[in-house]
Amino acid sequence: MKKYLYKISLLLLLTVTISSCTEQYVFQNTDFESALVVEGTITNELKNQTIRLSQVYQLEESGPRLEKGANVFVTDDKGNEYQFEEKDTIYSSITPFRAEPGRKYQLRIKTKEGKNYTSDEQVLTTETKIENVTATAENVNGERGVQINVNSFDPTNTSKYYRYEYTETYKIVAPVWSSQETVIVSFPAIPPDPDQDFPGSPAGEDILVRLRNRETRTCFSTKKSNDIILNNTNSLSEDRVHFPVRFISNQNYIISHRYSIFVRQYVQNLAAYTYYKTLKDLSSSGGVLSPKQPGFFYGNIKSVENPSEKVIGFFEVSSVSSERIFFNYADLFPKEPLPPYYESDCVVKDFADCEGLPPCARNQLRGAIKSKELVFVSTDYNGNYGMVKPACGDCTSFSSNIVPPFWVD
């Protein structure tokens, strides 16, 4: 944003000194009004379906205000009623159920305060399965990397709108790893023993090098997509999806070894798609010279008592299909160097564990070991230690050493 403006002003100003500036602006927010936020997607998977209820919170607040103690249930046009119960931060159906095609579902909420809300009736969208998910090495916008595409096809030509979520899991191998680690051990003062002619020694501490007792070399990180990822096949002659759901640069460490992505494809109806699209469009920033017109927009949930009350959120009944793939860096980029590691500075630094002037650095070294600012790589057992940043020698410093249950090497 700033760069953009800077350029414009420069274009304008040229020889004259003119500054245009963008600065943070403090505005008075005296008109806070709360509103119920409903987030619910019922799918065609047999499971405990979930609904999330919260309240709008003030800009200065840090977290959500959960809507507690509400009575939540979903009904269908066959007279079934699925009751939900409060579980931590969500409401979960007491019995597992799945959305059936052709039935009309409606969400009903009664808050603690006794206010009633209902959603529009929703019908399960066309069940279109993901055919496959592919990962190919490609150049995209001048950048080389892995393009992950979702392919699906609806021969009935009725699934037009798609929303995606993905969860990616990747293996991390610490590059400067040692099977040993250092800890600081302290020993008590030994009183002098004149009998033994022992003068006694004061309490002190020392560096202990020992074998690691847990996995710190190979880790697995898992991340969920945050963005709203949408696609539509409106402009296509048939519902054939070939959608780039994720692109990872070959400079991104997450694909260095083995990578897995789990893609969920939700088929949406137009109203749900429009809602998500509006949400997405509004959260991205517009250009300086062409800002977006923000505004409040309604979903499909209304207050029974006061139809003009602002309620946020969309209740959708969506068919979902999912697919997981794995790939290795070496398969896609054979004989190419690995991407830079998570931590770029993995240079081993030497410290001498002695008192006095440099190169002695006992306090610095021991302090770093205590605070885990540095991890051990090597020693000459003569008071000299090679140390690196924790991320380089211990992947658990930023990841997890638990192998996910689905992981296949």
């Binding site: 004259v16 500036c21 001048g142 959260s283």
Partner: protein
């Protein structure tokens, strides 16, 4: 006195006597004789001796070829002096030639106090005597400023003629360095109703009472000339005005005084290009439309915004005409500059109140911009060198005295400067624009002339390294003016305009594309004027306009591209109108200007149009049928009557009241989901699902002249309702949308306001102060929640700025130096603020307030300027003029926009200002 009578009497007596002695019949032959040679010929063949002033015949254009045999001298001389202003008096063998006046041989009956002889109309039929001269001399000796040494005699006095109440004084006004024809010079008799304005050829025709009159001229750029005239009959008075370039007189922006004095229309403002040179402006650009923004009722959403909001109307509701052709985008570079060469632009008439019936097609206003006609006698030019752009205008005769060509060009050197920069990022940036104009006019004969304008403007810029934006305006006009007779005049006008833009996306990947949009309109217009009588002046005409819109194409540049080529179907429409207007002068005090316009629009095929379920929101899901229309098949016809009424009444000589009502239709809409107009906004024609917009406005105004007309005070109020105003659903996608109606909302608008303007046009300190209180509201209501905005209630539009004050003042220090300043204050414009946050999915989102519930901080700005004229030597290569100005002297950090960014779950508000520190600039202007 008695003696003179007697002598005169004797003279005439003698004539009778002598006629018997000397023959009064002569035989003479004239061959291409002019008056002087005719006189000499007569003198040769007879005893007659002529007495006259040789100077009178210097510009004599008489040419007589005739033979006379034994014809009375009187008859011969009648022939010679026919169609001239000369009279003669024969006494014995002496012929006394007089200019204008008659030598009377008898005194009028009332000379000794006898009641005046009157004709049936009560008009005095007595001749005019020099006696009246004496009285003027006396009056003027008390008023030494008025120079009456040169009394001009008008018309030929005819013996015993029935006196008319008024005579026609006509002539040409020329002036300036090249003595070219001056248009829009007011010729008037001060403190009276008699006034006229010169046309393009400098011709005026003024009704004046007989006898002694004082006539003066009034013009923005030329010195005032005052003439004392003695009117005997219809006659000519040609005047030559001197350029006041060296005077730095006034900031001359005026609600055209002659118009304000004469017409009945409310809310008209004329800005003369020449007159605005002293107003300080950003980067020293003399900009006629920027000055318009200091007038009440004309606003813009912010600095760097291309559109204008006139009396609470949207940006697309203004019709910009350049020499009668529509100019779709009158701005360069996001509106920082106006796409009009200041040196070829003559003036702009802005109609914001009652729009004359000849104009139509937009709801809020007409900006009727006219460019200068060239000098048919001499080569001349004008130019300016500023920090960002340079301008040049040259005018040259093609056929001397008949036709001329004006060429104007303007360009920015920013691109060159950017390229020479070291910064890699900036080196690849582009920002350049230019505009060119050619105007040709040709006078075929007294009754026919043609003029033609060609105009092109081009902008190119890139704001990110991968996309290059281009847009251009192109227009061409051809106009034929024909005078059928004294009472009937007409013009046939053909115009063509095109606006297009293009985005060239060029990155290293395969998905490069070329995106474009184009609108083209061709128009034919017939405008007729019929001067039925002094009381009725009719104007009528026809016009028809064909639109072709190419709403957008996207073509991938690489065959491997994953992009799908899109070509949205062409839109076509025919807009036609017929109008008639009458300027009806009921009495000297009461003037009625009423017009009726009927406009019609036909959306034409070929096209496919969707039909949506009734009583359902328009969306992809509610389509019931898709209809296909063949080429030029009428899809839908809209139309309506547009009455335009205006009335003026003089309560006292210098205090008038005016009222007006008008209705307008608009069949073309600008789609822009930005707060401000941008070059990539697209124009859309009305069709099956997009209805035309309409508006009705009533206004009432009071106009008062103070201090003998030096100060003008006006107060105008208006109330406007509009229908089917376009707005958009939140997050609407407008570009390349085949079914744009699914993103649109059409609502009702309401605007009202009071505008006060105080102007002083003369004196060392001159300028104007304007204040407006106005509101502009919009209502988007529907039975469906998703089509409602702010619960279906009226809310402030994006450009609703209730308080608006502007002061433009100029102080002349000496003849060469003057100081000028602008001050502007405006209420901040409305904005939608985030009021809270919520979690959805794995992200945090923002809840926004009702639309436009809050306002950004108020806007104010002070600019100052110093204008220095070059030296006052008469003979030098070029007249020069320096303008040094500082924009935003107070360094006020006026917010251009306030926007919010969701960044790592934090919502941050940012305020952007374009010019947050004082900006000095210096411009050199020259004229040769």
């Amino acid at each position: 006195m008695k003696k003179i009578t007697l002598i005169l009497f004797l003279f005439s007596f003698q004539q009778i006597i002598y006629s018997q002695v000397i023959s009064d019949k002569i035989t003479v032959e004239f061959k291409n004789a002019n008056i002087k040679t005719a006189i000499q010929d007569i003198e040769k063949v007879s005893y007659y001796k002529f007495y006259f002033d040789e100077k009178w015949f210097e510009n004599d254009s008489v040419s007589i070829t005739k033979q006379y045999k034994e014809v009375k001298i009187g008859e011969v001389l009648e022939d010679v002096f026919q169609n001239t202003s000369f009279n003669f008096y024969i006494s014995e063998n002496k012929v006394i030639v007089t200019n204008n006046s008659i030598i009377y041989s008898q005194l009028p009956d009332d000379y000794f106090g006898v009641p005046l002889e009157r004709d049936e109309n009560g008009q005095i039929t007595t001749p005019i005597f020099y006696q009246q001269y004496d009285s003027i001399k006396k009056t003027n000796s008390r008023n030494p400023n008025k120079n009456i040494r040169d009394l001009v005699l008008i018309g030929k006095e005819v013996k015993n003629q029935k006196k008319k109440s008024t005579y026609t004084l006509s002539g040409f006004i020329r002036g300036g360095k090249n003595n070219s024809a001056l248009a829009n010079v007011v010729v008037k008799i001060p403190n009276s109703e008699f006034s006229a304005v010169t046309d393009k050829k400098g011709f005026y025709s003024l009704q004046v009472p007989g006898g002694l009159n004082v006539v003066e001229t009034e013009s923005f750029s030329y010195n005032k000339v005052t003439k004392n005239i003695m009117v005997y009959n219809d006659g000519a008075l040609n005047l030559s005005l001197t350029d006041n370039i060296n005077q730095l007189d006034e900031v001359l922006i005026k609600t055209n005084k002659s118009k304000s004095a004469k017409s009945a229309i409310t809310g008209v403002t004329t800005i003369d290009s020449e007159g605005i040179k002293n107003v300080p402006l950003v980067l020293g650009e003399r900009d006629i439309l920027k000055v318009a923004l200091t007038m009440p009722g004309i606003k813009t959403a912010g600095e760097g915004s291309a559109g204008f909001n006139v009396r609470g109307g949207k940006e697309d509701q203004n019709l910009f005409l350049l020499d009668h052709a529509t100019l779709y985008n009158p701005s360069h570079f996001f509106g920082f500059f106006t796409a009009l060469n200041p040196y070829t632009t003559k003036k702009v008439d802005i109609y914001k109140g009652s729009i004359p019936a000849e104009f139509g097609g937009r709801l809020s206003s007409v900006f009727d911009i006219s460019s200068k006609s060239g000098n048919v006698n001499e080569f001349q030019g004008e130019g300016g060198i500023g920090p960002v752009t340079s301008n040049l205008m040259v005018s040259t005769p093609i056929v001397k005295g008949k036709s001329s060509l004006v060429a104007g060009g303007r360009a920015t050197y920013s691109d060159y400067i950017l390229k020479s920069l070291d910064d890699e990022n900036l080196k690849n940036s582009q920002a350049s624009f230019y505009d060119l104009i050619l105007k040709y006019n040709h006078k075929i004969n007294a009754n026919n002339d043609i003029e033609s304008t060609l105009y092109y403007s081009h902008d190119k810029f890139s704001v990110s390294s991968d996309s290059l934006y281009k847009y251009s305006n192109r227009l061409a006009t051809l106009k034929w003016n024909h005078t059928f007779n004294e009472k009937n005049k007409g013009s046939l006008i053909v115009t063509n305009s095109e606006y297009k833009f293009n985005i060239d996306y060029q990155s290293e990947g395969v998905n490069n594309f070329d995106f474009g949009y184009k609108i083209d309109e061709t128009q034919a217009m017939l405008k007729m004027n019929y001067l039925y009588s002094n009381k009725h002046k009719f104007s009528y005409g026809l016009s028809t306009k064909l639109y072709t819109v190419d709403p957008g194409y996207l073509s991938p540049k690489n065959p491997q591209s994953t992009l799908i080529p899109i070509d949205v179907e062409t839109e076509k429409g025919l807009e036609s109108a017929a109008y008639i207007g009458d300027n009806f002068k009921i009495s000297d005090k009461f003037l009625l200007d009423f017009g009726l316009r009927y406009s019609t629009f036909a959306a034409l095929g070929k096209s496919t149009q969707r039909i949506y379920e009734e009583n359902q929101p328009i969306s992809d899901a509610t389509v019931t049928e898709t209809k296909t229309y063949g080429n030029n098949e009428v899809i839908k016809r809209y139309g309506g009557l547009e009455p335009r009424l205006a009335a003026r009444y003089f309560l006292t000589d210098d205090f008038s009241v005016r009222a007006s009502y008008d209705k307008t239709y608009q069949y073309i809409h600008l789609l822009s989901n930005n707060t401000t107009q941008s070059p990539t906004d697209i124009w859309k024609l009305s069709d099956l699902n997009v209805k035309p917009e309409s508006a009705q406005q009533v206004s009432l105004g009071f106009y008062k002249n103070l201090k003998g007309g030096d100060i003008e005070l006006s107060l105008e109020g208006y109330y406007k309702r509009s229908k089917n105003i376009l707005d958009y659903k939140v997050g609407a996608e407008l570009l390349l949308n085949e079914n744009i109606e699914t993103e649109l909302l059409q609502g009702e608008g309401k605007a009202y306001g009071v505008e006060v303007l105080l102007k002083k046009q003369v004196g060392k300190l001159n300028g104007w102060l304007g204040y407006t209180y106005s509101r502009s509201l919009i209502k988007l209501d529907s039975q469906f929640q998703q089509e409602k905005v702010n619960d279906g209630k009226y809310f402030a539009s994006n450009f609703d700025k209730p308080h608006d004050f502007s002061a433009v003042l100029n102080y002349r220090i000496t003849k060469r130096y003057s100081f000028s300043s602008n001050f502007i204050y405006q209420t901040g414009r409305p904005i939608t603020y985030p009021i809270g946050r919520y979690d959805y999915g794995n992200e945090q989102y923002t809840v926004y307030s009702d639309r436009n519930k809050f306002r950004i901080p108020d806007y104010f700005r002070l600019d100052i300027g110093l204008n220095i004229e070059g030296n006052h030597k008469i003979k030098k290569l070029a007249h020069s003029f320096w303008n040094i100005s500082v924009y935003n002297v107070l360094g006020r950090n006026n917010p251009y926009s306030v926007f919010f960014v969701t960044d790592k779950g934090q919502i941050k508000a940012y305020k952007t200002s374009i010019f947050s520190i004082p900006i000095p600039s210096i411009t050199y202007n020259f004229k040769f």
